[in-house]
Symmetry: C2
Subunit: 458 residues, 2 copies
């Protein structure tokens, strides 16, 4: 790949870049944990320092009311050059269950060509190769082929509660012609792909109470309501026997795939055993009747129970009828479903299924609209060429199942989204032993540089 | 009640007895918690000291392999007097959720005539009035009307795992004509009752795993198995739409009530609002179709989900598909259901409902057969007279929903069971703010003395 602009830079700077990655990964910037707020801030400060060292300008830590974001730019490519905003995030997921990690989550190691740590691929690693690509081009050429802005968020893993208002209040500073997001993945290094759509999300925490206190099951069991059974009946009722979500009207706005997207989906290789192994030794598949696993994870809306709890969970048995319990549910949405409509449908569904007298508390846990980029946009052609240059094959077009602040970026900034993401299906993001395959990291760095050159017209 | 043998004793010794109760309740003898093993032992030592001070003989702490039991006797009533074995237990339930206690669980207080502490009624308080009754009669009369044995267990709250083998190995020492159990309750002080049967118990812990690790719900959600949904579907499937337990053959051995028991059951007062309030502000009732709440808690077998868990339960949301989960279920059994048969039925039920590939681990958490005492036994007449003397009204005959080691006592010692229990429906046993209504405690002390005199033929 010596023809690629940053090949020599990546080789010469290899050790420094790995050291930088490790230093960043050692900061436990868990945005969901209030006691890690100082770490999220330390991560933002670290990121700002990287941006300064890269030669970018106007670097600043942006207060949001929650975890701070980081911004920098380089705006000297001229008025005819496009302006590109690169998005990433520096906060990470919680690490439990900690016992399942083979090495501590905030002590990065490279084993078998994989960097293992929380945040390795989601998203510090992917953010770092974008920063290093800009640094490399500035170092080699003294300039960039585009006007570049970088916006590194600090609250992505908690649903970006302040991101849209930040975008709105700083819309002038962030204005751009195209947004490049590096927070996604591809099918495999041999079958590179890019995301053209992302599922949205509406999530809820539901708490139920059936009595003022847990009750002795010998004395009361059989006659009083059992909160554990309430939780079980509600959550098991989220799907019908065909695996379809039972919320009224849930599928009404689901848009059919375009011909090009359906063709790309049909061209994707699929082997159930490989799919299950990549997911982490998944024992069996299930889902909506009439759709393939790839359709289920990409283009169909879902309801996932993220967690549930009730009663006694310690060692042995406690002979109680539990009085309280709860569950968390995340609905993944596809175009043109609307979070507000699904919110209303869920509340109606819950009310209809709650026995009279049950005390139910619903807490919204974030809402993101689904996002979709047109395959016909010229920037998509630039991304497609870039991926072919670096991975040796034209990419397939997929939809990412995940949600993020992308929809707000596209909508508020009125710019198309490009997804340059090097994650792989076995990366265990949000789970123990998250990894970045380092060969993908270096390809990501090369691709980030090439994409800026493609967008700048070479 | 000055005509009762121990009335003056109870009044004179009031403060010392309350101090003794408080001192015992301050020992956190939680048998389910390994880190409280030393407290269970301290509680046994405390109990032994009480028995020595009461004037009983052969006092000893009996090692069981788990929490120690305590034994004492007084065997000088002569060969024509009956031998009575009194059963109680000195271990207590865990205290979580600790935040729901209005005062610390191991700092007993008396408020509104109630002693509030873990173990107040289950079972240190009920054990103490038995010990004090023996002490009082010995102090007043220099002898007891029966040959008395006391056996105070230390593992009742964890299902008495070593109790039956203790009974078998010490059967000679424990041999008796009648067993008196003080670990139950009555309908109300105005409607005294005694238990003639107790439901048995078979309990299980079930752990499931659908994958090697939690998965990102955006990436995999909709296609892979969700352990939280597995838990929800299994537990919600324990009952059919009529509230009947779905295990094959579960009801085959359930014996019809005798005419006397049905009459006693029909005579019990029942007010749904009072019943729900006594249970602790229970929001609504449910259960097996075609049976009243009192039938459901006493004479019908049940399946209770004691606890369930899966996935993320912390603040906010985590966008995962959980890979592991579990639940605990306790089946309450009635005559003539057999724990071994229900065990086999549960395992078959679980296998039939588990998707191929699901990893399921079943751990037995105790098994106790149901117990039933004949209403025709002369000792039952003695108990009935005793209750009428102390509470002013002949008792109704009920079945207790709870299980304990009583079945093993009756079977191994081949003796009828009498239940002298002063607990009340609102005592919150196994729950936060457990209480002993002190008026019931003092009546229990008087009744324990009267019962020995009745059994000794006055």
């Amino acid at each position: 790949m010596s023809e690629l602009a940053l090949a020599a830079y990546a080789e010469a700077e290899h050790d420094r870049i790995v050291d930088t990655l490790f230093s960043w990964l050692r900061i436990p910037s868990i945005s969901a944990a209030p006691d890690h707020a100082a770490d999220v801030r330390a991560s933002a400060d670290f990121c700002q320092k990287l941006l300064v060292e890269a030669g970018l300008e106007h670097t600043s830590v942006l207060e949001t009311g929650g975890g701070p974001a980081v911004y920098a730019d380089w705006l000297h490519a001229g008025v005819d050059a496009p302006t590109v905003l690169v998005y990433g995030h520096h906060d990470v997921q919680p690490v439990d269950p900690l016992a399942d990690w083979t090495s501590p989550p905030f002590e990065p190691v490279i084993v078998d060509g994989e960097c293992r740590a929380r945040g390795a691929v989601d998203d510090k690693g992917q953010t770092l190769y974008q920063i290093e690509a800009a640094r490399g081009l500035l170092a080699l050429q003294g300039r960039l082929p585009v006007n570049l802005k970088l916006l590194i968020e600090g609250e992505e893993e908690v649903g970006s509660p302040n991101f849209e208002s930040l975008l709105v209040s700083e819309a002038g500073r962030f204005s751009c012609d195209v947004v490049v997001v590096s927070d996604t993945g591809m099918i495999s290094p041999e079958v590179p792909s890019t995301t053209v759509g992302m599922r949205g999300l509406v999530a809820f925490d539901v708490a139920v109470r059936t009595a003022s206190t847990d009750l002795h099951s010998g004395m009361w069991g059989g006659a009083v309501a059992n909160a554990a059974l309430v939780v079980a009946r509600l959550t098991s009722g989220l799907h019908d026997e065909k695996g379809r979500v039972t919320l009224p009207g849930f599928y009404d706005r689901v848009r059919d795939l375009s011909v090009a997207e359906q063709a790309s989906l049909d061209a994707q290789p699929f082997d159930e055993n490989e799919f299950r192994a990549a997911a982490g030794d998944v024992r069996y598949l299930e889902g909506e009747f009439g759709y393939s696993p790839l359709e289920r994870v990409g283009v169909r809306p879902t309801a996932e129970v993220v967690g549930l709890h009730s009663g006694y969970e310690g060692p042995g048995i406690k002979t109680i009828v539990p009085a309280t319990g709860g569950f968390k549910v995340a609905f993944r949405l596809v175009p043109d479903q609307r979070p507000d409509e699904v919110d209303a449908a869920f509340r109606a569904w819950l009310a209809a299924r709650s026995p009279d007298g049950l005390q139910v508390t619903v807490t919204p846990e974030g809402a993101v609209s689904p996002a979709l980029t047109s395959l016909d946009h010229p920037a998509m052609a630039a991304l497609s060429r870039t991926i072919e240059l670096v991975w040796g094959r034209r990419p397939l077009f997929t939809r990412e199942g995940g949600s993020g602040p992308e929809e707000a970026l596209a909508r508020v900034l009125a710019a198309p989204l490009l997804f340059l993401g090097v994650g792989l299906p076995g990366d265990r993001i949000h789970a123990p032993n998250e990894r970045m395959v380092m060969d993908q990291f270096w390809k990501g760095l090369l691709a980030a540089g090439e994409l800026l050159m493609e967008l700048g017209g070479r």
